[in-house]
Symmetry: C2
Subunit: 475 residues, 2 copies
């Protein structure tokens, strides 16, 4: 298998698919729209998942598992929800060799089934808040497959919480979007705009939706995580009430929120280059790959002894390392392969290095080479991994900021959207205008950022505007 | 909610369901046959999963994710497999609002879809072995639901490995059944017989199957984990060949193996008593519950200060603890509740204990009380947790051994099976005889244990027998 990929500048979509497959992140499943997450891609997902799971637990959430089969009638209980989701569901009509009395929908998201259970579990304010999350597969029918980004079945977490007041639910909604921001920026090195969705873009059944929005290497937006304040919509649909402290029955307040394997696509497209993946050290399956280089068997024995020591020391220092001692391929081929797989650091060691008691470290993000004495190796590796993590974030942030343009008129807006990038502009329009802009330019409002400093004039209506919005074409 | 349960001696099945629900381990889902795993039950599963996952990774396995949709045609490629599984599948006939050209089966197990992918990935002996595992949901249609034991959808791990020889596959199959034994005995404190299934009981599509078999509190057997040597059956069905070292195309050898959320049922039925669950410390969500007991607010302030210190120290010592400072219920009610939930140790502390600088520790397994000076608390808790783990295993082992009877004739066999327990007997019969015995007694051969010391005379045929078998009624 050749280990070069299409250049990003030639065909970005092709580059993406090439990288995903050549780095052995994922493959197409036999059923149209489905994806196999291969071990290397799954290891990345496991690391992302472990970080998010820890943050959820630190903020009082617990995991559970709800069935994936939803009775058809449940899907129809919340009006906006059914309209948003029913058309993209997979439907089970037969089970155990018989036609079912009622068809079962495979969860596209689990609000309905979870709120049907919450009705059983919630009676009084003492049962609240209920802070449950689950890591599961969901199905939303897709015809145009894009590995990690758009597949019929994907993996995600979905949090579903129940509260005694709208304010409490709102605090939860914001707490989660902050967790998502930290996950994206501090671990995945992927800068995001954090803000509110417009009514046109919010979740089907939500009062409002917050999201994190990242810019990919082709300057398109990736909605990377959403957190919804559902108000009392699902409690009303499923008749879930609680006795308040004042002993009054009241509908429960809800939130839901999720991130998915789409994040893996986000990592690839935020950092990848024409040599393949570049993985942030904090989430990389392997942080350093060790490539010993020998000619004779005698050299190999000496080298492998030293390499084994170094590998063990990496383990003790919680550095994830891998030794590539395959003798079927050349060192050059290995370098290319591990560059394709985006391992943050490569360590080379040959007989001459061994004599000098040194190794060579090569950074994946910059290509920089360092000759390092073995005695300084571990502190140097830690330093470099930190520096790579930081550099990757700063580089992505600069790219995002350089390609986010402020405009004050629709002509400039169209020109910038056409040439690629985000638009940051004051906005006082409505949903119809959003639809019109989308029709004309394919751009949508990604979010109204939380961080707002001043007011101005709407670029589209010319009216005074309290807030600016981020526009972009999106995945 | 009352926190007493049906006595085991009255109605074991009812006792089980009561405990599962009152300990908030699981609940029935809205679709018949489905189960909701509640946070407390899921936390137990997460601990079991983490231990198994670590052992898989330590032995070179990696995780991945394969789609749950299997084209109908794939299910039919391996003759025994389709016969075994197709009748219990759930079938998707509609997706994205349209009828599908080919119905999709939801995985009852993933051999077929995984081997369709292995065909793409395996070319040469250099690609072998391939050691992949996944943690996923599967569906097998069930009409008689038993929470954790028998549900339409359940969670499990399924390992699927590919090898260059039958011997290598055999080593893998045995390695895994040993991992399962360690998981069951050393972590879940659940003694198991480890052995081979007869042809009648093996997996649909396997050359042979190994299993671990545990005895539940009602003396019935729970098949708790299986490991299959699949020979070349699936490689032939999916035409997966590799070029050997001798450059000859050869069919690949396969194994598959799994444990499921059924293990949670095993823990409950191995250890539970009429007060509820008893959880082995190594897998318990909380190893110790701290119940402070006060009358006045002043006392509460003093107590909670000390409790906070102790709780922090538990955290530093990697002891999983929980403080129950709920002031809506009595201490007695709390004691009952945490006994129902099976927390291995309870710590009580009141104003008088505070004065004397001591606490009270109560063991869930024996009810024993210990007055312990705070300065000795942490070493004492560690000691007791170890002792509880050990005692639970020894107690279960004694129960299993006391209720496993050697017989040398069918009359005794029938009497023992009738009154409950396992039969250990020399066996030289065939599949037809097994079927006949099952028809007459409901007992099956659980396994032919690996550990065999001598030969004897078959209790059923009177012929010389090389091996003894373990018989029992099973879940």
């Amino acid at each position: 298998m050749s280990i070069s990929v299409t250049k990003r500048s030639e065909d970005y979509a092709k580059w993406y698919t090439d990288v995903v497959q050549k780095a052995e992140m994922a493959d197409y499943g036999p059923v149209k729209g489905t994806m196999v997450i291969r071990p290397y891609g799954f290891a990345l997902w496991e690391n992302i998942r472990a970080i998010a799971d820890r943050m959820f637990k630190e903020t009082g959430h617990v995991n559970a598992y709800f069935p994936m089969f939803i009775p058809e009638s449940y899907m129809h209980k919340e009006a906006e929800h059914v309209e948003g989701f029913a058309p993209e569901c997979a439907v089970v009509t037969h089970g155990g060799g018989k036609k079912l009395d009622e068809p079962l929908y495979i969860r596209p998201t689990s609000e309905t089934i979870i709120w049907s259970m919450y009705k059983k579990w919630i009676n009084s304010y003492r049962d609240l808040p209920l802070l449950i999350n689950q890591w599961v597969n969901v199905v939303r029918w897709e015809m145009r497959t894009r590995l990690f980004l758009r597949t019929t079945e994907f993996l995600w977490q979905e949090g579903h919480t129940a509260h005694a007041s709208f304010e409490e639910a709102e605090i939860e909604t914001k707490k989660i979007i902050e967790i998502y921001r930290v996950l994206a920026e501090d671990y995945m090195a992927m800068p995001v705009y954090v803000g509110k969705k417009t009514d046109a873009e919010k979740f089907a059944g939500a009062v409002h939706t917050y999201s994190i929005e990242a810019m990919m290497g082709d300057m398109k937006a990736l909605q990377s995580g959403t957190s919804h304040n559902l108000g009392q919509n699902f409690a009303k649909a499923f008749d879930v009430t609680f006795l308040s402290r004042e002993n009054k029955p009241e509908y429960v307040y809800a939130t839901s929120w999720g991130v998915s394997t789409r994040l893996v696509g986000g990592v690839i497209m935020t950092h990848g280059d024409d040599k393949g993946l570049i993985l942030p050290p904090k989430i990389a399956p392997y942080q350093i790959v060790i490539v010993p280089i020998w000619r004779t068997d005698e050299q190999k024995v000496l080298l492998m002894e030293e390499v084994a020591k170094i590998k063990l020391q990496f383990g003790r220092e919680d550095i994830r390392s891998l030794v590539d001692d395959n003798d079927q391929v050349s060192a050059g081929w290995k370098f290319n392969q591990w560059e394709m797989k985006g391992v943050p650091l490569r360590m080379e060691i040959g007989p001459k290095d061994l004599e000098k008691n040194q190794v060579v470290l090569v950074r994946r993000d910059t290509g920089e080479k360092h000759f390092v004495a073995v005695e300084n190796l571990f502190s140097m590796v830690k330093h470099l991994l930190g520096d790579i993590q930081n550099n990757m974030f700063q580089r992505a942030l600069k790219f995002r900021n350089d390609n986010t343009h402020e405009v004050d008129n629709y002509t400039d807006f169209k020109r910038i959207i056409e040439s690629g990038g985000f638009v940051k502009a004051f906005w006082a329009g409505d949903g119809k205008m959003e639809a019109k802009i989308q029709e004309e330019t394919k751009a949508t409002i990604r979010c109204i950022p939380f961080k707002q400093s001043q007011s101005g004039t709407c670029f589209y209506t010319g009216k005074p505007a309290d807030t600016y919005a981020i526009f972009g074409k999106s995945y």
